[in-house]
C-alpha cells in the first residue's frame, strides 16, 4: 500500500480562486524517494503544504490526500497534529528562521519527542544527544544547550533534519532543504539526508528546483509546471529521455557544463512554448502562472 496517495488535488487561493495546484495525482510507496522539480511558482511548495496540512486560511482544497490509508484533507486539526511530526514530517528551506530563537535547540527537539510519546524527560535528553550525534553535529551534548543563533546555517539544518527523523517517520517532505546553504555544506547535508532516510527507512518527497540534487538523491521524479504534473517516471529515464518538451527544456538549461564556454546556452523556449516568455511585455502583474477557474463554492 502507498504511504501517500494524492488524487485529483486542486488548490486555489483567495476570493479569485487563483489555482496553484491543478488536478495533481501521485503516489509514494514505503521507502520510496520521489523528487518533485519545477520552477518557482510552479506550485511545488503549495503541494507540500497541502499534504502536511499547513495551508493559509484562504486556500481552497479539492480532491484527496491519503496518508497510510487515512484521508488528510478533512482531518480535524487535533488528529492531524498527532500525525505531524511523528509519522509525517517536514524539512524546510530556511534553516536560519525555522527554529524558535528563544529556545535551546535540544529543548525544541525534546519537546517534539515528548509531544508524541510518554517518555520521561531524562531519557529524552539522551535520545536527543544521540540523534544530534548521528546527524553529524560535533559535540552534540554541547549543541543541545545552544540557542539557534549560536549555530551556523549547516548546523541548524542538521538540527532540523534530526528533528524530522527523531520519531522515525514513514514520510519526510523536504522543501528545498539545501538551497539556502553553501555548496560544500550542501553536499554534506545531502549525503547525511541520504544516509539517514535509508537508516530509518522513510519515504521522501524531495522538492527542488535543482535537477542535479534530485538526480543524486531520488529514484523517481515528477516534473511540475504551472500547477500540473507534466511528467513522472524513474529518474534516469526522465532526465535522459524526457518525453515532455518542458522537461527536455528543464534538463537542457540545467546542464550548463555540457555547453562549450562562451557559446549560447539553451533556453526552455527552444523546447517548449509556455504562455509566459520572459522577454514578452508583461501580461499580468504577477509572474506566477495562475489561472482563473470557476468558483467551486
Amino acid at each position: 500500500m502507498s504511504v501517500l496517495r494524492v488524487r485529483d488535488l486542486t488548490v486555489s487561493f483567495g476570493r479569485r480562486h487563483l489555482v496553484a495546484v491543478d488536478q495533481v495525482s501521485l503516489d509514494i510507496e514505503p521507502g520510496q524517494r520521489l523528487g518533485l522539480v519545477g520552477a518557482s511558482g510552479s506550485g511545488k511548495t503549495v503541494l507540500a503544504s497541502t499534504i502536511i496540512g499547513l495551508l493559509p486560511d484562504n486556500a481552497h482544497v479539492d480532491g484527496s490526500v491519503t496518508f497510510d490509508g487515512q484521508e488528510l484533507t478533512t482531518l480535524p486539526d487535533r488528529e492531524f497534529s498527532a500525525i505531524r511530526g511523528k509519522d509525517l514530517t517536514m524539512v524546510f528551506q530556511e534553516p536560519m528562521t525555522a527554529l524558535d530563537p528563544t529556545m535551546r535547540v535540544g529543548r525544541q527537539a525534546a519537546e517534539l519527542v515528548a509531544l508524541h510519546s510518554e517518555s520521561s524527560q531524562g531519557t529524552t535528553r539522551q535520545l536527543v544527544v544521540d540523534v544530534f550525534d548521528r546527524v553529524g553535529l560535533d559535540q552534540a551534548s554541547r549543541i543541545v544547550d545552544a540557542y539557534p543563533h549560536e549555530l551556523s546555517g549547516g548546523q541548524r539544518q542538521r538540527v532540523i533534519i534530526a528533528m524530522a527523523l527523531i520519531n522515525r517517520p514513514s514520510l519526510v517532505i523536504c522543501d528545498e532543504p539545501t538551497t539556502a546553504l553553501d555548496a560544500t555544506v550542501q553536499a554534506k547535508v545531502l549525503r547525511l539526508l541520504d544516509e539517514e532516510l535509508a537508516s530509518v527507512d522513510a519515504a521522501c518527497l524531495f522538492i527542488s528546483h535543482d535537477l542535479g540534487l534530485v538526480a543524486s538523491l531520488c529514484s523517481d521524479v515528477a516534473v511540475i509546471h504551472a500547477g500540473r504534473i507534466v511528467e513522472r517516471g524513474r529518474t534516469e529515464q526522465v532526465f535522459h529521455h524526457p518525453s515532455h518538451p518542458y522537461t527536455a527544456g528543464l534538463v537542457a538549461t540545467a546542464s550548463i557544463d555540457k555547453v562549450r564556454p562562451g557559446e549560447r546556452l539553451p533556453v526552455i523556449e527552444d523546447f517548449f512554448d509556455p504562455s509566459t516568455v520572459d522577454s514578452a511585455p508583461p501580461s499580468e502583474s504577477t509572474n506566477r502562472p495562475h489561472r482563473r477557474i470557476r468558483r467551486s463554492r
Partner: protein, 319 residues
C-alpha cells in the same frame, strides 16, 4: 565582562538622560517668557510690589543658579517650596502620590491580565468572526477617552444603579471597604482603555509569530494551532509587551491624571492641575519631574531586564 560594560553604559546614559530631562522641565516652566510674579499679582499691580515679590521668591537671581539649587535639592530629597504658600513641595506630594500609586499600581497588572486573552483571540481569529469582533472592540475602546469611560461608568453605576459612590478617596488605613469602593470605578476606567491599548500589542505580537517560520516548524512538528501559538509565541509577545511598558506607564499616568479629575480624587494629577491653575511653579516642576523620572526609570529597568533575558545579548552571538 561585556555584560558589565553594557550595564555600566546604560546606567551612565540613564543618569544623563534624567539630568537633561530635569533641565528641560526646568527650562519649560521657569525660562519661558511670562512673569509669574506679575501674573500672581495681576496686571494692575505696581512695579515695586512685583519686584518685591520677585526678590522674595528669589526670581531675581540667575536661572542657572536656581536650576542648580533645584537639582542639588532634589538629590537630597528636597523639591523646594511653593512660591505661594511656602509649604515644602515634598510634603504636598506625599498624600497624592499614594492615591496615584494605587490607581496606577492596580491598573497595570489588571490591564495586562485582560489584554493577554484578548490579544490571543484577536490574533488567532483574525479571519473569523470572533477575532474580528474582539479586534473591533479594542479599536473602539482605544478611541474612547478615559474620562468619558469614567463618565459612563459613573452614570451607570453611581447615578442610575447607585451601587457605588463615585467621588473622592479614602485611605486604605482609614477604611479598607470605603477605599475599595472608591477605587473600583476609577481603576475600571483606566483598565478598560489600557487593556485595549495593550491587547493591540499582544495581538500584533502573536500575529508576528503566526507568520514566522518557526511557528510553521512548531505546527509541522505536531503542535495544534492554539497550543503551538501559546508555547512558541508567549515569549515573543512578552518581549514586545515589555518593550511598551515604559510607554504604557506614561499613558497610565496620563489616564490617572484625567480619571482623578472625573472622580474628584486628590492624586498627583489633581495636585498638578490645581498648581497649574494657580501658577504654583515649584509644585508643577516637582510633580512633572517626578512623573517623567518614573517613566525614565521604568524604561531603564526594562532595558536592563533585556540585557539579562535576551540570549543573543548574553552570549554575543554569531549572527
Amino acid at each position: 565582562m561585556a555584560l558589565l560594560r553594557a550595564a555600566t553604559r546604560r546606567v551612565v546614559i540613564f543618569l544623563v538622560t534624567v539630568l537633561v530631562a530635569s533641565a528641560v522641565i526646568f527650562g519649560i516652566v521657569q525660562a519661558l517668557p511670562g512673569d509669574v510674579a506679575l501674573a500672581t499679582l495681576g496686571m494692575g499691580a505696581s512695579p515695586e510690589s512685583v519686584d518685591a515679590l520677585r526678590v522674595q521668591w528669589g526670581l531675581d537671581r540667575p536661572l542657572a543658579l536656581r536650576y542648580l539649587e533645584w537639582v542639588v535639592g532634589m538629590v537630597h530629597g528636597d523639591f523646594g517650596a511653593s512660591y505661594l504658600t511656602g509649604q515644602s513641595v515634598v510634603s504636598q506630594i506625599g498624600p497624592p502620590l499614594a492615591v496615584t500609586a494605587w490607581l496606577v499600581g492596580l491598573s497595570m497588572p489588571l490591564s495586562l491580565l485582560a489584554a493577554l486573552p484578548l490579544g490571543l483571540v484577536g490574533a488567532m481569529g483574525r479571519r473569523r468572526w470572533f477575532g474580528v469582533s474582539v479586534n473591533a472592540a479594542t479599536h473602539v475602546g482605544l478611541a474612547i477617552p478615559v474620562f468619558f469611560v469614567g463618565a459612563i461608568l459613573t452614570i451607570i453605576f453611581a447615578v442610575k444603579l447607585r451601587w457605588v459612590r463615585a467621588n473622592g478617596y479614602v485611605p486604605l488605613t482609614t477604611s479598607p471597604g470605603e477605599w475599595a469602593i472608591r477605587l473600583v470605578l476609577p481603576v475600571a476606567s483606566i483598565v478598560i482603555v489600557q487593556a485595549c491599548f495593550l491587547a493591540r500589542y499582544v495581538r500584533a505580537g502573536f500575529i508576528d509569530v503566526l507568520t514566522e517560520d518557526y511557528y510553521r516548524t512548531a505546527r509541522a512538528v505536531g503542535w495544534t494551532r492554539w497550543r503551538g501559538l501559546w508555547r512558541h509565541g508567549i515569549r515573543n509577545v512578552a518581549t514586545s509587551v515589555v518593550t511598551v511598558i515604559g510607554l504604557q506607564l506614561a499613558s497610565l499616568l496620563v489616564g490617572a491624571i484625567l480619571v482623578e479629575q472625573t472622580f474628584a480624587m486628590p492624586g498627583l494629577g489633581s495636585l498638578l492641575v490645581q498648581a497649574v491653575r494657580r501658577r504654583d511653579l515649584m509644585v508643577v516642576q516637582g510633580v512633572g519631574m517626578l512623573l517623567v523620572a518614573a517613566v525614565l526609570t521604568v524604561n531603564f529597568l526594562v532595558d536592563l531586564a533585556y540585557l539579562a533575558i535576551d540570549p543573543r545579548l548574553k552570549r554575543g552571538g554569531r549572527s
